[in-house]
Symmetry: C2
Subunit: 332 residues, 2 copies
């Protein structure tokens, strides 16, 4: 299967985003908690779509966004995730492959449709996500291609995989395969509510060294350690003896290890349009640097660069030539 080597492989929910502008009143009327990710069923997906404004359809999925971002930065990347053989699934597959990403997970011929995330973007640029997991619920251990994982320097896993039950097993299997091949495993905590659902299990992944790197934003980090004090949460992360990468929106990011704590500024932006994918693209830049043995400061700057690009337009996939931008900034 994988005679070739990969820098990075991501495993995540294969989701297509339907992005619409909405005001705060709409969120209130529809009883949707602003800023988070809610899981919705098919009936709710249809009724929400009916109620919301015109949509822009762009491939998404947290880990998939990261993989595409990294590939755009020149990283040799692969993805594992489950779509159905429907129009939307076809678009998701196309968009990955068109970016040069290796994607060979068999699509489901039956069962629920390809996953969709209805993303409502408010005028302040904040995104609120409503996810129908659809075909993602059928991602299983059988989809974890051992040869592919073993051939990848870094395996990147999204915390959201804890939502579809079978995917959790696929996650753990992938981490085991990676470690058996002396590879690095990274985890993104995905979402503060997701951390709320699976806190103990995520702490277990960190403490049992199932993962070597953890990505989180400050809300997720505070949720993980059940504190409202960022410094306390950062200290707790420092004591895990892991590579921690924490994003703080406009305040930049922090790279936290037991030995050092680096604060790295964000890139300036002209106009915030849609925060969707900010964390995903930060991870993309950081991992692109890491797989090229850049120092942590450069990795975090690459993350900031990629995040700055993606929040200045709708959709969580890069629109600009990130590689050229990284080179112009002397980062790659």
């Amino acid at each position: 299967m994988a005679a070739q080597e990969f820098d990075l492989i991501g495993i995540g929910n294969a989701i297509v985003d339907v992005i619409a502008r909405a005001d705060d009143d709409f969120l209130a009327r529809e009883k949707i908690a602003k800023g988070g990710m809610s899981l919705i069923d098919e009936a709710r997906t249809l009724s929400l779509y009916e109620a919301m404004g015109p949509g822009t359809i762009v491939s998404g999925g947290s880990a998939a966004n990261t993989i595409v971002g990294a590939a755009t930065l020149g990283v040799k990347a692969a993805f594992i995730g489950k779509v159905k053989t429907d129009e939307v699934g076809h678009a998701f597959t196309h968009d990955l492959r068109a970016t040069g990403v290796h994607f060979s997970t068999p699509a489901a011929h039956n069962g629920p449709s390809t996953a969709r995330c209805m993303i409502l973007v408010t005028p302040d640029g904040e995104r609120t996500m409503n996810t129908y997991l659809g075909a993602c619920q059928n991602l299983s251990e059988a989809d974890v291609d051992a040869a592919l994982i073993s051939a990848s320097k870094v395996t990147y896993l999204e915390g959201y995989l804890w939502d579809p039950p079978a995917a959790k097993k696929a996650f753990v299997k992938a981490a085991d395969i990676a470690h058996n091949a002396n590879r690095v495993v990274a985890l993104t905590l995905s979402d503060a509510f997701c951390v709320g659902r699976y806190r103990d299990e995520f702490l277990d992944l960190i403490r049992k060294k199932t993962v070597d790197i953890v990505f989180a934003n400050e809300h997720e980090l505070k949720a993980l350690y059940e504190t409202s004090d960022f410094e306390a949460a950062a200290d707790a992360l420092r004591n895990e003896n892991i590579l921690g990468v924490v994003t703080r929106s406009a305040e930049g990011s922090m790279v936290i290890t037991r030995e050092e704590t680096l604060a790295v500024p964000a890139f300036p932006i002209a106009k915030l349009v849609d925060t969707t994918g900010a964390g995903d693209l930060f991870a993309a830049g950081f991992l692109a640097g890491l797989t090229r043995d850049k120092d942590y400061h450069t990795c975090a700057r690459l993350g900031a660069l990629a995040a700055a690009e993606v929040i200045q337009h709708y959709g969580a996939r890069p629109e600009a030539d990130l590689l050229a931008m990284a080179r112009e900034n002397g980062l790659l």
Copy 2:
């Protein structure tokens, strides 16, 4: 059917756009003439999709873009066009209705899929369109809802309707119904190549007063009169004794009647991203003004405002609140 009155009804090809960035080399390699609209068959659609980069899917269609733009400006609008009952057709329908547009043309249950336009946007912001007409080929006279047309102040028709054979008849029928109800009929010439295909018929529509208003960009106008001299083409249009509205990109627009010629400047933009929909949205703004009895200068400024918004992002549907922008600029 139409107990209510409409300001504007559009009849056009119901198309969903798949937008990808591409460089000039890609166009050359794929033998695609830059800047125009080429009709492609299903096999070519699939092979082009295979070859092109990741896509953003947004509802499109020239007249449909105009109708949505006008509705966004507060115009009571309706649309007639043919989709299939597939995922993409469902999205097209949703996006119209979510903008408040009345859309009741029955979708096809069989036959070709909903039309798609593969739009390649080069780094200079120019768009090159490759259209698979699909279900649009089945738009027929039967779809022309006479009550709806009679109840609309302006019937807006796209020249592209001359491509699918049955739609041409629907076009002529709609114009007849509108005129019998003492309504106004507007035509957009759509595309210089389209004018090349149907020059004599378009001139006939103008000279036989099948249409009262004609929208064109300078390329289309030159193609119509087979001249490379813009002034000569403008003179020819002036002699048609019709309301002519000619867009000239950054140079603004001209409103041409036998009595007067108005030159109206474009709106300044921060950055040109994608010219797709510039003409469609210009027509939207102009018609929004016209249906509210604004003077031609204000109509053209409204057109310029709407066009300026749409060329600063990917996709031919407005992303900003055009009505608020028009009010801020004292145009509505």
